[in-house]
């Protein structure tokens, strides 16, 4: 029962704040909104402690809330499940979510829709917890759609701005494409297994489906398409950079702790199924690796502070899928966890910068912020180091593990891609850091006068997340046998653990990755801090490359030309020809026919009573005659 309260509490908080928020003071709104994730976190920790007391093989808590759908021999129950994987996800979601709630108290102070924001934030958290605690695919899908809805509402939170409104719509529509594939997958799953329960599906999978069969490959591929939509992978990543139109805490919540990790969670949860489909795993790994490199290359030239971090998120999610695809499920979840910390930290620091600069997001107009924003710049530096994969910060351990798993499982090409991405990550992270926080100030006088460090409610989460980003990596040390891996061990198929390389080459790989990252920082230092003119010269020397990256490989334009424009045009054509002529025409035609027939028949209604009586008489005579003579 306890674990079903974990998602219910934020849901209740959302209802209270949403329905009564207008009538209660802001301070109380903030208190209620922050109490909900705190309670959920407390409950998750209690459940986590109970898991730890159990024997390591049977770590599982269940809460059944009764039957949901019962139709013939197909039934779906309403229930929650708390196993090591759910535990890690729930703790990350609640923990990071709580810090973001606290941060929002200060960040949204000036906003007139204070209570709406907190109600949506709580709802988002509740849906995400439903997603990670569900014990079958259908309830997971409820949470899955719930976070999609909340992200639409939160990205478009400032809906008076056309850019925000259309970004919300874009996120919603792009996600629908993935969700459509997922629905097909779920229906197929019902046909194959007669159930959507994780336990039934995942234990029956090896007997029902043959290893490497077309069925299991297509089924897992459908689930993976759903995951690419939610987790912003190629080719459905386009919504995520635009999602930056939302308030910064939303960016942190969506990109760090919650929504985008849903796809990773789905694949990790379905690991026994994916394990049967080597082809799909190969696709997952390649999509992940290519997305990582692709997004990192775009991040190199962007100038909007939040967009750089958004592309970085896409790139890091690519790493997670790379890990999952080469069978290192625990490493993927490990990276998800460390990423939640440092990406939340980066976004919240960026938010603090934007807050201090009264809405300025262009890093070309910043510079030298370190001197006035000490806490923010310090925590951003920690986040950047963690993201770039510098030891001993969190990102190093998890990223290194994924890379060595890729190398060890024989995916040398993917390892090269991953290592290149690591270097690129270091370059774009420190390009951002150097341009924004170091060097000479490029602020105008007005912004300079507005410059101030954030209030305590924003500084506290920054400091806590910075601590987390520097230490959380140690739960995965030593690689492949750290605390986290032993804890998660019972969830994932056994074969998935043997994938990584032997220790000796593991150290070599780690050193290579570290050298790449340090090299990246050095490049960023040379080009953007010591000699900014060099960066300019570079863009002049390779204009085609620079423009391609700056325009994000023209993918948005491509989608616009190949998908969106034809869809809109054909929809308009259909509405003007088929809908107006055929559909409306037939409906109106039936109505006109009735009118005309009525006009003909009304002549019979003379209103002359004798005429009516005569017709009655004639009718009676005919009827009687028929009865008398027919037999």
């Amino acid at each position: 029962m306890m674990i079903s309260l974990i998602p219910i509490i934020p849901l209740a908080g959302s209802l209270i704040v949403g329905l009564m928020g207008r009538r209660i003071p802001r301070r109380l709104v903030a208190m209620i909104a922050c109490a909900a994730p705190s309670l959920s976190l407390l409950l998750s920790l209690t459940a986590f402690a109970r898991l730890l007391q159990m024997p390591s093989e049977g770590r599982l808590l269940r809460a059944s809330l009764g039957s949901w759908i019962a139709s013939g021999d197909f039934s779906v129950s309403f229930g929650f499940l708390f196993d090591p994987l759910s535990a890690v996800m729930a703790l990350v979601v609640c923990g990071v979510g709580l810090l973001i709630h606290i941060y929002s108290i200060g960040y949204m102070q000036e906003d007139r829709d204070y209570h709406r924001f907190f109600a949506l934030l709580n709802l988002f958290l509740a849906e995400m917890l439903v997603l990670v605690l569900a014990d079958d695919y259908l309830l997971l899908f409820v949470g899955w759609e719930g976070v999609g809805l909340c992200s639409y509402l939160l990205i478009g939170f400032w809906f008076e701005r056309p850019a925000a409104a259309s970004a919300g719509t874009k996120a919603f529509l792009v996600n629908r494409i993935g969700d459509g594939a997922m629905v097909v997958g779920l229906i197929w799953m019902i046909l194959l297994f007669g159930s959507l329960d994780f336990e039934t599906v995942l234990t029956k999978a090896p007997t029902v489906l043959a290893y490497g069969s077309v069925t299991v490959s297509l089924l897992t591929l459908l689930l993976f398409i759903g995951a690419t939509g939610k987790s912003a992978q190629l080719p459905l990543y386009v919504w995520l950079p635009d999602a930056m139109e939302g308030p910064t805490p939303v960016s942190a919540l969506i990109h760090a702790a919650t929504m985008v990790t849903a796809g990773v969670y789905l694949v990790a949860r379905s690991a026994p199924l994916f394990q049967l489909a080597p082809v799909t795993l190969e696709i997952v790994a390649w999509v992940g690796g290519l997305t990582a490199l692709y997004a990192a290359s775009i991040a190199l030239v962007q100038t909007d502070i939040k967009r750089i971090i958004a592309y970085s998120t896409i790139s890091q999610l690519g790493y997670m899928f790379l890990g999952l695809g080469v069978g290192a499920y625990a490493a993927g979840i490990f990276h998800l966890m460390t990423h939640a910390f440092f990406k939340a930290l980066l976004f919240l620091s960026a938010g603090s910068v934007i807050h201090a600069l009264a809405g300025e997001q262009d890093i070309r107009k910043m510079g030298g912020l370190r001197r006035s924003l000490r806490v923010t710049s310090g925590s951003f530096l920690v986040g950047a180091l963690a993201n770039a994969g510098i030891a001993p910060f969190a990102g190093f351990w998890s990223k290194d593990e994924i890379l060595s798993a890729a190398y060890g499982s024989g995916h040398r090409a993917l390892w090269v891609i991953g290592a290149l991405t690591a270097a690129g990550t270091a370059v774009y992270m420190f390009r951002l850091y150097f341009l924004a926080f170091e060097g000479k100030s490029r602020l105008d006088a007005h912004t300079l006068s507005h410059l101030h460090e954030a209030p305590w409610s924003m500084r506290l989460p920054l400091v806590l997340l910075a601590l987390g980003s520097s230490t959380v990596g140690f739960v995965g040390v030593p690689p492949d046998s750290g605390v986290l891996h032993r804890f998660l061990g019972s969830v994932f198929p056994a074969s998935a653990h043997e994938a990584s390389a032997e220790p000796a080459s593991g150290v070599v790989l780690a050193v290579v990755a570290l050298v790449m990252a340090v090299g990246g920082i050095a490049i960023a230092f040379r080009y953007y801090l010591r000699d900014p003119a060099r960066a300019e010269a570079f863009t002049v020397r390779y204009p085609a490359l620079y423009r391609t990256l700056l325009h994000k490989y023209w993918v948005d334009e491509l989608y616009d030309k190949t998908v969106i424009h034809p869809t809109v045009v054909s929809a308009r054509t259909l509405s003007e020809s088929f809908d107006a002529r055929v559909v409306d025409g037939s409906v109106n035609g039936v109505a006109a026919l009735a009118t005309r027939a009525g006009n003909l028949l009304r002549r019979l209604q003379t209103g002359q009573i004798p005429a009516y009586i005569l017709s009655i008489l004639v009718g009676t005579v005919v009827l009687l005659g028929y009865l008398a003579f027919s037999g």
């Binding site: 009304r602 002549r603 209604q605 209103g607 002359q608 004798p610 009586i613 005569l614 008489l617």
Partner: protein, 103 residues
């Protein structure tokens, strides 16, 4: 008694009365006359009932006649009320002018 007047004579009389009633309803224009014609039709039917009752030595026909007369009395009450209401509205009892049902 029964031997003197055959059943057929009663039936022919009542058929004649009924046809006169129908003709009156169809031909006459005055609502009151139409009304009386309807009463005539009812009584033609009553005559048939009574004739059969006597011929078959059964009281059923006579009982039904009492019912028909009771219903006819009620019908007269309602019908006359409608005619008065019509006259107040239309200042006329000519059915040709009463064509509110015209479609």
């Amino acid at each position: 008694m029964t031997g003197t007047v055959p059943l057929n004579a009663y039936l022919i009389l009542s058929a004649a009365l009924f046809v006169i009633g129908v003709a009156g309803v169809l031909i006459r224009r005055n609502v009151l006359v139409i009304f009386m014609s309807i009463e005539l039709m009812l009584n033609a039917v009553n005559l048939t009932f009574v004739a059969f009752s006597m011929f078959l030595h059964s009281m059923d026909g006579q009982i039904i006649v009492l019912f028909v007369m009771a219903v006819a009395a009620a019908e007269v009450a309602v019908g006359l009320a409608i005619i008065i209401a019509l006259y107040r509205n239309k200042e006329s009892l000519n059915v040709d002018e009463i064509n509110l049902l015209k479609g």
